[in-house]
Symmetry: D2
């Protein structure tokens, strides 16, 4: 019985190693990993070795967008059973601190998060995780769709952080996986119109196919948005896009900024009394994400443009830069 893992041993190097057969703790389950989406943060760790204060300083297994099947459970597990097909919420909170008790477990200072140094992720055949992070998915939902509930969760939470109200006209800057799923979440949560911008025509085409209005980033249209979901992380976009918001407009910064410090032209933005909300992952979004996909209100499948076996994880991790023909790569650890 093997348990192969794709281990990042140094910058831009992945080695497939065999790891011990996992055993669950009392509250844990062992999940046979079937699909792992590749996220920009995986690529950043792979290429740069760090994101902000999180630094890779030893071998690490990447991957935190995960779905699979439960193959073993600890004695205290009650919410899932062996055989369940599940989506995985990658962060495990302490359940005891100020943040956890305030309903903000995602801001728990002791959060253990898959593929965030020093914790390993999901590019492995079988992994253990707190069973309370597992959410059964319906039979009709594929494992790939299950894995994409994670970036969809980012989009849902971005909408909540932005204070999205039903009827709001929404501008989404950036049509990568997070931008497209944030746009889908906005519409599913009752947005009025949803407009997506990106420099890449391939991605705008996909956005149109999903039913959104689109704009080339280099020829922005008019004003008149209530909510901005910034998902590009590109320099200057936040300030420019906020200037297109109506009075009392709200912006959520979802994309990880590539700048040291964002610059906001306050004298302009002040008059409209805007609000900017920073975003750190998500809180209690899996049940809704499952419901939205299962009921057909959101279709995540079109985002998956490429598939890889575990042994080709390195290729998957570098695909994201090909914005002209890719959106989301999925790795299948059982293959």
């Amino acid at each position: 019985m093997s348990n192969r893992a794709a281990v990042m041993t140094q910058l831009e190097e992945i080695v497939v190693e065999d790891r011990p057969e996992p055993e669950p703790g009392p509250h844990e389950a062992v999940v046979r990993v079937e699909a792992v989406g590749v996220c920009g943060s995986d690529t950043a760790y792979y290429k740069v070795g760090r994101i902000g204060d999180y630094v890779v300083d030893g071998p690490i297994i990447l991957g935190h967008e995960v779905a699979g099947q439960v193959v073993k459970v600890g004695p205290d597990v009650t919410n899932v059973a062996v055989g369940d097909r599940v989506a995985v919420e990658p962060g495990t909170p302490c359940r005891n601190c100020r943040e956890c008790m305030a309903g903000r477990y995602h801001l728990c200072p002791d959060l253990v998060f898959l593929a965030t140094p020093p914790y390993d992720g999901a590019l492995i055949e079988k992994m253990t995780i707190d069973a309370r992070n597992l959410y059964p998915i319906p039979d009709e939902m594929t494992y790939e769709e299950g894995a994409l509930l994670e970036p969809l969760s980012v989009g849902i939470w971005g909408c909540k952080r932005a204070g999205l109200e039903a009827g709001d006209d929404v501008l989404v800057t950036g049509a990568g996986p997070v931008g497209l799923l944030a746009a889908a979440a906005a519409r599913a949560l009752g947005a009025g119109s949803v407009t997506v911008t990106d420099p890449a025509e391939f991605r705008l085409e996909l956005a149109r196919g999903m039913g959104f209005r689109t704009e080339r980033s280099d020829s922005p249209g008019g004003d008149g948005f209530d909510v901005l979901l910034e998902c590009s992380g590109a320099p200057g976009v936040l300030g420019q896009a906020m200037a297109r918001l109506r009075p009392a407009g709200r912006a959520a910064m979802i994309g990880m900024s590539k700048e040291q410090a964002i610059g906001l032209p306050l004298s302009q933005l002040n008059v409209n009394e805007l609000t900017l909300s920073l975003v750190n992952r998500y809180n209690h979004t899996w049940p809704l994400a499952i419901e939205l996909v299962a009921s057909g209100r959101i279709d995540v499948a079109p985002l998956v443009t490429h598939h890889f076996p575990l042994s080709k994880s390195a290729d998957a991790l570098t695909l994201a830069s090909r914005v002209t023909d890719s959106v989301k790569a999925v790795i299948h650890p059982q293959i």
Copy 2:
């Protein structure tokens, strides 16, 4: 040039009369009325002559679910033009009082509301109304759909009053027009699951066709709802349904209660710290309602089960009691 109106001259009597050609004031428009949905309140005025403190004490024209075409505008009108196909928001606020200035124009004590005594409604070929109450609808939207934006607005506002959050599991009691549209609104605003109850199998069938879970009122299922939208107005339903809410559950009383005073079993409900919100119509819901129907997120058409010409308005007003085969009657004043 005629301007026929269906006038309620006394209880259970409608007479078609010709009225003068209307002239718009500076801020007004004349609308050629194409579709008028019949509401339970119309029926109540027709049969009982009163709703609470609103008493019919003279001839009145009923009808407040309205769509039509603009045929004339006053000199100060800027938001619509002659030829526009429009949906009509039936309440005209004073724009000056405490409530109006607080963003709650629907609670304006001087609100002029179509077909609410002493004000006439829309069962007439041509009527004048403040043009700011008119919202252009797209070419693909029928006038009937335009008229149904009014009960849809009730559903949308009920969701807002209930504090509906994306992901909430919603229970809707009552599958009449308002209940079905409240259910549709809840789903379009990001509800998790939506369950509809009613005693009438015909209406439950319609609810299932719209994609909702259903329950016979006399064999209620389990607990576990976050939000209750009470749309039946039937005695005892509110309290029984609130008992099925989870901790921190929220209920909105949308249906007009048929009881003098509702009885709420507090000792039970208190432990779960529930919230009950009363609902009085809607506030700024037309743009969203149009967007939801135009984008296909809500389909209002299946609710229209019967059509009537103006001369058969009396038949339309009494149809609503036939719960075994009807949901919504629409009157066409041009026919």
Copy 3:
């Protein structure tokens, strides 16, 4: 070394018994109890033996408004130390369930609450409790004031549940301890005017001394309140007082109703689109309660009208019915 406790052995009977010396668990502390306020619920258990579904079916120690001194701590305790003077939050949540993780630990179905059957309370010389329920109080604060942070917490939470906004004109019905502290909380949280009603002149006098406007319950004044804090529990008061709210008014039901089912005259209340929030204790209010009392923004001392040694607990428990000269009785277990 004694550990005397006032044990309710049957209806209307208190026996002082010696209990074993308490030992703290890993997360627990032993508190030497210095002051215990008597609450209406203590009196209800003493006289009637039940409140709703909570039934006294064996010997029980009453008392849950508590302050004292830490005399021993378990090995894992970090937030308090031996010698600390502390106020006690009486409810211990499981920290693991859906409600706890949503930030609503007070609705935890497994909440262990002092003096709520089957759990013992604080009328004892020394008791153990989860140390995370303990909040150090400043030297200048008396133990009696510390004990009164519990009913003050009820008032604070009632304001939060009512959605109190700064500037709201507030009506408080009932000038018992909870009503007076709810009024004080409302003012400290930025209420505009605060008006208190009660049938008892003694209590209205106290209310005036605390700076509130007052009204005899039998000669109510005019309308024009934004928020109602119902603290009387008397039949009919909720509905009558809600009728005095302005449009969009909000009511919180803080007092435990003495009726099986409250009756609400909806046809009247509906027009103003009111909101009614039920209230079940409090959530994370101690730090604020301490700060409000320590900074002098709220003075709880005037409420304490009577003191009793542990041996006179029975007298304390029956005092509350004397509304003509008492408000709050405090029992001192060390005496």
Copy 4:
């Protein structure tokens, strides 16, 4: 009968001129101006001639912190009468646009605001204004206190924009008039602790006298704040102070930034999922401001350090830069 006005004729020049006796329109009142506080914006117009897009391009009367007595009313005025002592809200909205109807009249694009080009302000003996901007003040309140309700309103609204919750620990950066009044508002709205920072010892002394904790800006203390009220407008302060907020902390940018664009170190702030709200004046704050001052919950009097007659308006306008011994100058147009 004179009507002297202090007119700014060019940069750094004030000339006292006689203006025509004012006549009120139907909804207007004439106010005999008794006290005008000098604001930083007055000083900016006086010295620089512009604030952002607002440019002084002709003679202008400054002053928008105003109290006085009603001496004449138009025929449609109902809320005030001749002889009333009143505080003046300086902005007059259109009452008709999208923002006005949404309850955000302060963001009305057609807002007419005293002393904001091209509109004149209040440094005049008698002025006309929409009577709905006038709020009677009690006899015990001085006109100076009445004038200071305007900067107090800024502080109150800043707290609301920050989403201040009762119990929040608040950091106020900048101890000028707005900072001190924002601090006072925060405490009156139920803040836990309130800490004020400033480089000037004179102002910190005043802050301590008002009961706040203080810090020298150049030796900041530790972290642990829930809310930041940025009132200094000084470069870099916003970002540094936001870094001291707890997870889920909220910041309001009240001070007008002196920078073209603020720089925010996102990679740090993101983790804590902070929210930044921009602030543009206030909305419906006068009734609360009056109540807070009248009830003694806020004492604005200590802020008034200097008084000037109308003829010395130029001296008053330049006083503000003397941070070592001044906070707020008041001009008395009747003197």
